[in-house]
């Protein structure tokens, strides 16, 4: 075999030789492995024994600063302040009874509270068990001076939510709560451990990953009584990012004061973008009560409140829209050509249909009524006629055009979608055919119809801007702690009404009439120098609850008529008539936004009578 050939084509490997080589390699590697065991277990045994004996290594978390939440002008809605928390590492404790009495004395804790917390001590002897968070200055001083008597007691600093201007938007911002076992098991919160507080509601929940930041840690060696000897490792925490919301603190505050704890909701948005300037639900809760751990008793008290303070009525409350729905009926009638703007119906206060009589809210009737007057004075008989000509399914189609009957998909949990009934829906749900009389109720916003205040605000904004549906949103920007903009949220168009713009124009004009014309039902929202437009609504409460079953008051409005800047919806549960109860709230919001002088509380037009009611 020539040298050349040997180079080109090497001899196949000789298995016997390969076995020898493999055996030698394996022996060498296992020998070094054994050497490593010798090194750890014999040469360094003393060192590791010492480390393990009292398990001297402690791993402590450095909690990250949670992101700040701002309103649109940069006012801080939520930030964090340091909170001093006391915890115990069970293995370092030398005398449990001593510790319990000491802590009880210093912190005024009931012994069973300490006991409850320490129940886990057997399973996790080296795990810090939180005993009390948010120590006061006095408590902190006491603990620091007596710590040497209580081995195993540690004080840790962690950031805690703080609401510098009070709870102005608790339902939107939400709150933090201790992570649940289910959340840990879901694997979505790999950063977090039991006992951590994470966003459990509202924007705090929705933006948890961004607001949360990253934990840091310290790895320390401690002596027998748990005192730190040296730091073995350190990693700083990374603060969370900040949120700039679309909210306007001033408007939020007006809404809060106007509702003054009566159940209801206010939504204000920019009709040209979908930005939410205010969203308030009443009664509200105080998010600062969640900064500490709540006992089961406290939880129960909060959640069993019949007024449901945790419900965000703006997106979760579903109510019949009442007469605010008449814009939908009107638009449907015009588009389907069952009426023209000039079509007139005679209202004598009653509308006989089948073997029943449907009434107008004004007993004496409105006389001859055209579209404009029907909206301005909220004539029910007119809309009974329109609804009857349209039929349930065509009417539903126009409601759905506006996005009613499904969630607006605002990034806030948990949003309800409301209900827009159709004949098919009824057949499926109740296994009975649609009754034409039910359409009459629907036409004036009663019956099966259900909408959320947010949906009605979007509807109002859509009418105001001439037919563009924007997705409502709450967060404008996500900004890093250094000030870099990470995310800049742009308005999102989710639909456009493909209707005759002239028809929308007529409806806008009529809504302006509601507020500004003699006999209009919404005179209480009239503004000096600015033409506001609106529509009152009174939703009948069918089931007479313990609150006496007064009707729900609605008012939807926008301003100014030409080039609208603001659209708002006010709902007041059991508030009575929309024109009396809800319209003044809209006026206050407009006054605050346009910097107008406040008007006295007396409604300007006494003619604005009570709004529509359904058949009797």
């Amino acid at each position: 075999m020539s040298k050349f050939k040997l180079y080109r084509q090497e001899e196949p490997a000789d298995p016997q030789r390969q076995f020898v080589v493999a055996t030698v390699i394996i022996l060498l590697i296992f020998f070094s492995l054994a050497g490593r065991f010798w090194y750890l277990q014999i040469a360094k045994a003393a060192h590791f024994k010492q480390l393990s004996e009292h398990n001297r290594i402690r791993s402590l978390t450095i909690p990250p600063a949670r992101g700040v939440i701002f309103d649109r002008q940069g006012t801080i809605l939520v930030n964090s302040r340091p909170s001093f928390n006391l915890y115990v590492i069970p293995d370092d404790v030398q005398n449990w009874d001593d510790l319990k009495t000491q802590l009880g004395k210093l912190l005024n804790l009931e012994p069973d509270q300490v006991e409850d917390r320490l129940a886990t001590k057997k399973a996790w002897p080296f795990y810090p068990i939180p005993i009390k968070s948010n120590l006061s200055q006095d408590e902190l001083g006491l603990i620091e001076s007596f710590k040497y008597l209580m081995p195993g007691v540690y004080v840790e600093v962690s950031p805690q939510r703080n609401y510098p201007i009070g709870p102005v938007a608790p339902h939107v911002i939400g709150y933090l709560g201790e992570i649940t076992l289910k959340q840990i098991k879901s694997g979505q919160f790999s950063e977090n451990k039991m006992g951590d507080f994470i966003g459990q509601w509202g924007l705090e929940k929705q933006w948890q990953t961004d607001l949360g930041g990253k934990k840091g840690g310290r790895f320390i060696e401690v002596n027998v009584v748990g005192r730190e000897i040296q730091e073995l490792g350190f990693r700083d925490s990374i603060p969370g990012n900040n949120l700039v919301t679309t909210l306007d603190w001033d408007l939020q505050k007006v809404a809060q004061e106007a509702l003054s704890k009566k159940p209801g909701a206010v939504v204000v948005l920019k009709p040209t973008t979908g930005e939410i300037l205010a969203m308030y639900s009443s009664p509200a809760f105080d998010p600062s009560s969640f900064t500490r751990k709540l006992s089961p008793r406290e939880w129960n008290a909060l959640f069993s409140d019949p007024l449901k303070p945790f419900q965000n009525r703006a997106i979760q409350g579903q109510y019949p829209p009442g007469s605010t729905y008449k814009m939908v009926t009107a638009l449907g009638g015009l588009e389907e050509k069952v009426i023209t703007p000039e079509t007139k119906f005679y209202c004598n206060g009653a509308f006989p249909f089948g073997n029943r009589v449907f009434h107008c809210w004004r007993k004496g009737g409105h006389g001859m009524v055209d579209l404009h007057k029907a909206i301005v004075q909220s004539c029910d008989v007119y809309f009974y006629n329109v609804g009857n000509r349209l039929g349930v399914d065509r009417l539903a189609r126009y409601a759905q055009l506006f996005g009613l009957g499904r969630p607006t998909e605002i990034a806030l949990y948990p949003e309800k979608g409301g209900l827009i009934p159709t004949s098919a829906w009824k057949l499926q749900r109740y296994k009975t055919a649609w009754h034409p009389g039910e359409t009459l109720s629907l036409a004036i916003g009663q019956g099966y119809n259900l909408t959320t205040p947010l949906q009605m605000a979007v509807l109002t904004a859509t009418i105001a801007n001439g037919g563009t549906i924007y997705k409502p949103f709450l967060v404008k920007k996500l900004v890093s702690p250094q000030g870099t903009v990470i995310k800049d949220v742009q308005p999102e168009v989710v639909g456009r009404l493909s209707v005759n713009p002239e028809h929308l124009r007529l409806i806008q004009q009529a809504m302006a009439g509601v507020v500004n014309e003699e006999g209009g039902t919404g005179g209480a929202a009239r503004l000096p120098g600015i033409i506001a437009a609106g529509k009152t609504g009174t939703a009948q409460v069918v089931s007479l609850g313990q609150r006496g079953g007064r009707d729900h008051a609605w008012f939807v409005a926008f301003a100014p008529l030409e080039s609208p800047q603001l659209a708002t919806t006010i709902l007041m549960e059991h508030g009575g008539h929309g024109g009396d109860a809800a319209a003044p709230v809209a006026r206050k919001i407009f006054e605050a936004y346009f910097h107008l002088p406040p008007r006295g509380s007396a409604p300007i037009s006494k003619q604005a009578g009570p709004d529509s009611t359904d058949e009797e």
Binding site: E10, E11, P12, Q18, A22, I42, F48
Partner: protein
Amino acid sequence: MIDRKFFQNIDWPLVLLVFFLIVIGVVNLYSATYQVEEEKGGTIYLKQIYWAAFGFFLILIILFFDYHLLLPIAYPLYWVSISLLLGVLFFGRSISGSQRWLALGSFSFQPSELVKIALILALAKYFFINEFNRRYSFRDLYIPAGMVLLPALLIMKQPDLGTALLLLFLGLSIFLFIGIEWKTLVVSLGGSALLLPLSWFLLKDYQKKRLLIFIQPESDPLGAGYHIIQSKIAVGSGAFWGKGFLKGTQGQLRFLPEQHTDFAFSVLSEEWGFVGSLVVVTLFLLLILSALNIARQSKDRFGLILALGIGALFFWQSLVNLGMVVGLVPVVGVPLPFISYGGSSIIACLIGIGLLLNIHMRRFIIQS
């Protein structure tokens, strides 16, 4: 079929070796899960016994059939296991962040464990039917290298870096053994050295973290650095004789992470000391050497490569796991055969043992 000869031909020392390892493993699992909540931990060592019993039953079945019957189904088996891996990616169950399990009725299994055996079978068949009277060139290795890379990439996506690397090492061992051209060897080793920095970008954040932490464990006191340091403390503090059964403070006080799976050996090392560790390390050494021996005596190239591959699998798996426990290898999450808890792992290992015994039994050309 079951006559005296059948039993005579069984490699009893190997069976005994495996039996010892399993017993040690179960005893250790009992200790490792002793402190864990009753309802969950109490049954882990029992489950391991059931799995082992099932595995021995599989061995019996394997022994009845000549391993050459596997030749025609080696490739189909390979593809079945690849489709199972795909199934994991699409429908898999994820436990603590990685998707490695397929649900099968009430229990779930890890296809990546079975892939190891299927890959060895496929490679053995490939080199059996492609035997040249020369060393293998770069081009000759396209197909077998593809056979290794495909499952390795799929497993990497789960993500399970440890098992993916294991398959690569396994393939490399077989290639090196059967003999490849020097040029090919130099080029491919050089190429991988160049590609290695690139592969950094393919790694998940937590995997990068683990590698970095391996270099500097103190940099991550809460995560993987903690694993390495606590495991070293456990092993080191075991000293010569160990702290005794159920007396290991690191393990019993639950300082150790994954103490019944990847770090099971830390518990053993702490409680049984240098002596115990050395016994188990020696048992593994003997296991690997006897696999090599079976490979050497096998009657044909198929048996040789099959036995060799199984030996290489045990070698790499024990090396990576033990290396991890003593802080010589980054934390990549590879179970220690027979010692770590895990049904799929023990079944795969016992199937491997079954094949070894089978090759050993039929090492003489006399049989039909």
